[in-house]
């Protein structure tokens, strides 16, 4: 069962992946530095498939798509936050990293979570409660369903609203 690794409010992209590592196309190399300045012990406790949980405004700061990519390549299954910084939120969905906005979650470090992505429902096994994620606009859901914007546009060639 995936575990929650809980961080605070306003976790900026410099702390998710420092700018000095971002200039690369070797995207797997990003994973080694994820959360480095925020939580030097991250790699010891994190297991592939675990979940990052945060408070307000996760991913604020730069537009670097390397931030969600670093989390994805490190094996983060989903990021849950009260709400996300807008560029990070778009980027995450565009690159196929699931993100859920849950304004009222009470998730604690080490809680066991069960995630139902398609319905946006998170069950906190440890605390025996569940939360509903904020609904996404249809265009975002469609992009998420295709696994990201690259696949979406490969298939549709253009945006489809409706």
């Amino acid at each position: 069962m995936p575990l929650a690794h809980v961080y605070g409010h306003n976790i900026d992209t410099d702390r998710i992946i420092p700018g000095k590592y971002t200039k690369t196309l070797d995207l797997t190399s990003l994973a080694a530095h994820v959360m480095e300045d925020l939580d030097p012990g991250f790699h010891q406790k994190f297991k592939v498939g675990d979940i990052i949980v945060a408070g307000d405004n996760f991913g604020c700061g730069s537009s670097r798509e390397q931030a969600p990519i670093a989390l994805k390549t490190a094996g983060v299954a989903v990021v849950i936050a009260h709400y996300f910084a807008r560029i990070f939120f778009r980027n995450a969905i565009n690159i196929g990293l699931p993100v859920l906005e849950i304004p009222n979650h009470t998730i604690q470090n080490g809680d066991q979570l069960h995630i139902d992505l398609s319905n946006g429902i998170v069950t906190n096994i440890t605390q025996n409660i569940s939360y509903n994620a904020t609904k996404l606009p249809k265009v975002m859901l469609d992009i998420m369903e295709e696994g990201g914007l690259v696949n979406y546009l490969k298939k549709h060639k253009d945006y489809i609203l409706a």
């Binding site: 306003n10 410099d14 420092p18 000095k20 200039k23 700061g61 609203l161």
Partner: protein, 410 residues
């Protein structure tokens, strides 16, 4: 129904009346990416099946974040950009051209009423031109390159009114925007447009308006737009005004004439205080540059303070002019010489130490006073350094004294 500036610009582009909360797909008038974001955007563009960009005249690549290349990995990414631009026969602004945002404005690649998407978070800077500009990630940019369009949710707007005609001595737009960041906080404008109005704003130059819009990124905003009153440009343009009864999520009124010099202390741009509360804090590194405060008037403000003087012993001062044009103008009018004579080191026009890639990473335990926009932990490449953000005038006088000092004793 009455509209905000953001609603008007988006409506005009989509051909129907849009209001906050509506979703739209709009044509984009220009887009750009830098050496941090372009390589990934090009990769995504190709993976999407892209062969030629939708409109090569609206597509710009800038090598500014780590320029000239500090290592072979980045050198290869720069070459990838050069090759792609050659292949597309599109614009490439190579090393020395300047910071992406300044380059786009210098070269008039963005104009009033435009929708512009930049793969850099400080793209809202162009709102100074009464345009709608957003920062996006690489894959969103790749989609703009492919389709010429973007999907957007029409943002709610926050109206910021800066009253007062005359600013206090030593006060510039940076001090005003730091006050706005303080009031709105680092997340206070998330998903929203920050719309600037008021007498104090109408009196500002384009360069100073750019400071106001630049730091909406530090409020989490989608965009920032300045109302066009008083905007002077070297070409004809159609201004977009907000309707008097447009709907705002929030209205903030500030007496700009009463604002004193401000400083953001580590480690967040919204941790804003008056400079006078931090006077005496030792600094060993002063930096002027960036898309926030690396323009000619910023360099001139520093030169006015440093003319004929020497920066304090034990302090190093690095200056990165925001663009080639700024550098040339600063050379012509003697500003650059004044700064060098005072002990400053001039580096290449580009992002320089702002993002910690090269050219001036601080050492452990050092305190930096910087004219940039972010002071997150590790921002300049070393998590063990402290970064204080202030106006160019405050940075210059602090370099002179070796400690944080108020810039009113010019």
């Amino acid at each position: 129904m009455a509209q905000t500036i953001a609603e008007k610009i988006l409506s005009k582009h989509s051909g129907k009346n849009l209001y906050a909360g509506d979703l739209c797909i709009v044509p984009v008038d220009g887009c750009m990416a830098t050496d941090t974001t372009a390589p990934l955007a090009i990769k995504s563009f190709k993976e999407m099946g892209g062969i030629t960009v939708h409109d090569k005249n609206k597509f710009h690549l800038i090598i500014d974040h780590a320029a000239p290349a500090p290592n072979e990995r980045i050198a290869n990414l720069h070459n990838l950009m050069r090759e792609f631009a050659a292949e597309q026969d599109s614009a490439l602004y190579d090393i020395g051209s300047g910071i992406c945002h300044q380059v786009m404005v210098d070269h008039q690649k963005v104009k009033p009423g435009d929708i512009f998407m930049g793969a850099d978070s400080h793209t809202p800077t162009y709102g100074a031109l009464n345009a709608f500009a957003c920062g996006v990630g690489s894959t969103d940019l790749a989609a703009v390159m492919l389709t010429g369009k973007i999907w957007l949710k029409v943002p709610q707007s926050i109206k910021v009114i800066l009253h007062g005609k005359k600013l206090q001595p030593g006060v510039s737009a940076k001090d005003l925007v730091l006050e706005v960041v303080k009031q709105l906080t680092i997340s206070g404008a998330t998903y929203q447009s920050v719309e600037y109005h008021g007498e104090a704003v109408a009196a500002l130059s384009l360069s100073q308006r750019m400071v106001l819009c630049n730091m909406v990124a530090e409020m989490g905003a989608k965009t920032g737009i300045v109302s066009p009153e008083g905007l002077e440009l070297p070409y004809e343009f159609t201004p977009t005004y907000a309707d008097a009864d447009a709907v705002y999520s929030r209205v903030i009124e500030i007496d700009a004439a009463a604002i004193l010099p401000k400083i953001a202390i580590p480690n967040s741009p919204d941790n804003v205080h008056e400079v006078r509360a931090w006077v005496g804090t030792k600094i060993s590194y002063a930096f002027i540059g960036t898309c926030t405060n690396g323009r000619l008037d910023d360099l001139q403000a520093a030169a006015a303070i440093l003319k004929g003087k020497q920066i304090a012993k034990g302090v190093r001062m690095i200056i990165a002019p925001a663009s080639k044009q700024v550098l040339i103008e600063g050379l012509k009018d003697g500003t650059i010489q004044t700064l060098i004579e005072a002990g400053a080191t001039i580096i290449n026009s580009g992002c320089g130490p702002c993002v910690g890639s090269h050219e001036g990473v601080p050492g452990d335990g050092e305190s930096v006073i910087s004219a940039a926009n972010r002071n997150f932990k590790g921002r300049m490449g070393n998590p063990n350094a402290k970064i204080y953000l202030a106006s160019p005038a405050t940075v210059a006088i602090s370099a002179l004294m070796g400690e944080i000092t108020e810039p009113i004793t010019q």
